[in-house]
Homo-oligomer: 202 residues x 2
């Protein structure tokens, strides 16, 4: 890895951390891109070269989670009940969180506190989730041999899985560490599994 990429990685993390800290200190809306860029000593224009939008800061983990889930999904046999595959994908994300570095864990907790303080961000997280859902619905429909446009079961499988993950992550735990978050996420998945009738997704 060249010096250039190292520097970029460093700037990206610096922007991320500066943004999260400012958001928690003064609130999300009250914090401007100019301020964030100021802390890291880059121009506001540069911020947008690292993050497409301000919202992409609190949604930092979304893309990563989506990638993990898709990897797990494609590794599963195609004739497995689709919700079983999706539940495994969700658990893989939980696993990833547990296995992440101390630095990343800190960011997880900050983002979670941020979502609690700013409910509008929960909405934006759901918005990103909707985009994720489209991707997965398409894949599930493919595996089911159906048309994604009309296969409501495929969509339901996905929204149940994604919604469950959201409930587990967002549903607040009073001042918890990362383990208590992953525990709650795991609990949510189990609850959903038990709520569903076996074979509903065939």
């Amino acid at each position: 890895m060249g010096l250039r990429e190292l520097k970029k990685e460093k700037t990206r993390n610096a922007l991320l951390d500066a943004a999260l800290d400012l958001f928690l200190e003064q609130g999300y809306d009250a914090t401007t891109i100019e301020q964030i860029a100021g802390v890291v000593d880059v121009s506001p224009r540069t911020f947008f070269r690292y993050f497409p939008s301000k919202d992409d800061i609190p949604l930092h983990f979304h893309d990563q989670g989506e990638e993990t889930m898709m990897q797990v999904l494609t590794s599963r046999p195609e004739d497995e009940p689709p919700f079983t595959s999706m539940a495994l994908a969700v658990r893989a994300v939980i696993q990833d969180m547990s296995a992440s570095t101390e630095e990343e864990r800190g960011r997880f907790l900050k983002i979670r506190r941020l979502l609690e303080l700013n409910p509008a961000l929960v909405g934006k997280s759901a918005a990103r989730g909707a985009a994720t859902e489209r991707v997965f619905a398409k894949e599930i429909a493919r595996r089911r041999g159906t048309d994604v446009l009309t296969d409501q079961v495929a969509h339901l499988v996905v929204v149940f899985a994604v919604s469950t993950m959201r409930v587990g992550f967002e549903c607040p735990t009073p001042e918890g560490d990362l383990a208590s978050i992953t525990d709650r996420m795991e609990a949510a998945v189990t609850l959903t599994e038990n709520a569903l009738r076996p074979g509903w997704d065939l």
Copy 2:
């Protein structure tokens, strides 16, 4: 109703229809508030006096639907299984759609076409849905006699219901009329009901 309120209602509808038509003609992002206001011959500032944001145009029915659902929910006995109550609330929304005026039906269809053309709006719809979920989760938790902060079942009940409605509404039907939309929504609710194990939400 005074002349003043009539005029307001008229302006509001004019803005709504002008916006929807422009969105469908030239795309959502490509349409500016200035253009919308121009069609109705009001100042851009006035637009924001009728709609808090541009996004509130495609989300026109959200608040209405939320109100309907909450009315139904509070009319149900408190010891009814919560998902049963929520499913009834969703069906009430479907009923409202079927019973709406020709004018409103047209808007429904336009909004749906808009959501198909612009997936980002589906996300924003989900974002609004997240806010709705908070309200209902609180009420469900109250009825269950639990703390909304820790009662994951309450949250799951709500997200399943709201997600199901979204799937039914957004899942595209090829050039359908309003009846085919409500039919699909009804189908989605039924699918979810059959997918869930009776008593899971007690």
